[in-house]
Amino acid sequence: MRTRRWAVWLALTLLCTGCASLTPPPGRRTDLRYMSDGPAAPARAERPGGAGETVGSTLPREAVEPARRSALAAHLAFLGAMREVSGSTRRLSSELSRLRASYQGIAGAGNGIFVPYVEYGERQRRWIDAGLAAATRLATAASEVEDPDMQLALMRLAGPRLEAAMMGSLLLAVWFDFLDLTDNVLSRRHYGVERLYMDMARFQRMLEPAMTALSSLEPGQVEAAANDMPALVGHLTGEFDALREAVREGAENREKVLLVKESIEVLTTLSVLKFTLPALRAAAPATLGMGFMVGSGGVMMGTRVVVSAEWVEMMQRLVRAGVLSLPAVSAVVRIQAGQVMMARAHGELPRGVREALGDGPEVRGMRVTGRAGAGMAEPPEHHVLPREFREWFEKRGFTGEMDIDQFCVKLEQAHHQAIHGGGNWKLGRTWTGEWNRMVMKALRDAEVEAGRMLTRNEVLEIVAERMLEYGIPMSFIRWRGR
């Protein structure tokens, strides 16, 4: 009834104003009052509840809830994994500071020639922290968007950073063990300073390529480094052990030997080397025969818990959500288990363990579509947020780790052509359906309607809906600029 009355009234008004030359009321249409204080509009984030809301999703109500729940579970796992990594880098950071001030040992020996080795460690700690900070910002952005698919997509964007930080802190812990041993040896003058200096240079060269690859935060490089990690840690373990032996042999008498033994055995408390070292010396058949098992306590090897059940669950969620890659998580487990020397023989964990860590057909499928098969051309990368309008997006908060180059998708050639106005799929003549034009119109006209600039999250929400309609996968990769 009310609708009818309104319609009649509107019809009259339209007639009066002549319809075609409708003048917008002042301050609404012609005068877009863009917010001057940046694109942060807190109103949406503060909306209470949210549990029963379907707005912002193209899926029916009942389909949204499980999607939302699994996005939330992945988000919590993400935060848990971040806490763990940042906890371990914090510990490393304070230990590195301790070494820097160790004038009896590493800081004072040989006029400070060992200090650059400590500084190298600190530099690594800095990129790991920066990577974690960027991952945190992405995770926060993910928690602020409504669309569960977009939430997962943003977390996936943060995945390589978390992965790199995880592997990087592991490697940094190994490097710290070398520094700590060096400090110990120097302060007790068990070993030639020059020889030790050369040894350390060699160890750094061994570790450097992996560190550099990880610090690039480039998904491909991070993954390659992760795959090589167990073998690398294996080699470094061997070197560490050999250095300890050499120090021991250098001791002149039995009394000193005992002293040395005592002092260097208490080392390696922070790093994974404490696991790999005993494995190295154990009789090979025993180690080989001792299989991995998934028990109630987590992943076990014999009676030892390699990684806790909570950690396994956390990783499982992240692997299933496509945030972390299974090879990287497997590498961590193998390193923790001390199974590094066998890395080359058979690079994979037993199936039961892999499944506990989230492996499954859909995860493997994710990886297959993520890469073009051998010999095939890489599918074209497509900027979801049109590059010609970079500045427009920058003004709406798409900067830094959220700049438009982060929001690229890989599309098959036919799909890419089709959405850029090619192909013969279009049935209607009077609508081109070209992605860039369509998406900019949707965004700009939404701003006209809102009477203000859209926030970054609002842009993402509109784009997410349109992506669904175009069948564009919500799986972003970083533009590599070609």
Binding site: W9, T58, L427
Partner: protein, 156 residues
């Protein structure tokens, strides 16, 4: 649907094959039987893995062009966009969140409008801004009275 299969092979043939399989003689008839479903929901029903929402949209437009019912098609698209963004109807309170929902629906509607109707849609949007519909307004199809007032058929 997101693995690109929707864009391979003969899109049109596939679309019409599915429509016929479901017992309709046109895409329009199929879509009008589900007047408030989103484009993605329509596509999912026709082919969960190999049909995209915009393909349905383009097909509907082609039929409307033939039947000279493009204005009706444009109204139908708005119904779907509104239902998606405002499932409980036009908001009673225009706070920031609701304003965005309206903006999202109308902006997307505009982006999916054929060139021939861009001007009229712009005017209709201006009219909606100037004279907001009553709270709870939720058009259930292209024949909604208010919608027809806003965007009357001219072809007929």
């Amino acid at each position: 649907m997101s693995d690109g299969r929707a864009w391979q092979g003969n899109v049109k043939a596939r679309l019409y094959e599915r429509v016929r399989e479901r017992g309709y003689d046109s895409l329009t008839a199929f879509a009008e039987a589900r007047p408030t479903a989103s484009l993605v929901a329509l596509a999912e029903e026709l082919g969960p893995n190999d049909i995209a929402g915009v393909q349905v949209l383009s097909g509907l437009l082609a039929e409307a062009e033939q039947r000279k019912q493009v204005t009706r098609f444009v109204r139908g698209v708005l119904v779907r966009m509104l239902c998606q963004s405002l499932p409980d109807g036009w908001p009673a309170v225009m706070d920031d969140a609701n304003r965005f929902r309206v903006a999202k629906a109308l902006g997307s509607w505009s982006a999916y409008t054929p060139e021939t109707h861009e001007k009229r849609v712009e005017q209709a949007r201006a009219a909606l801004r100037a004279f907001p519909p009553p709270p709870g307004w939720r058009p259930l199809g292209p024949d909604d009275e208010l919608l027809r007032t806003l965007l009357p058929d001219e072809e007929v």
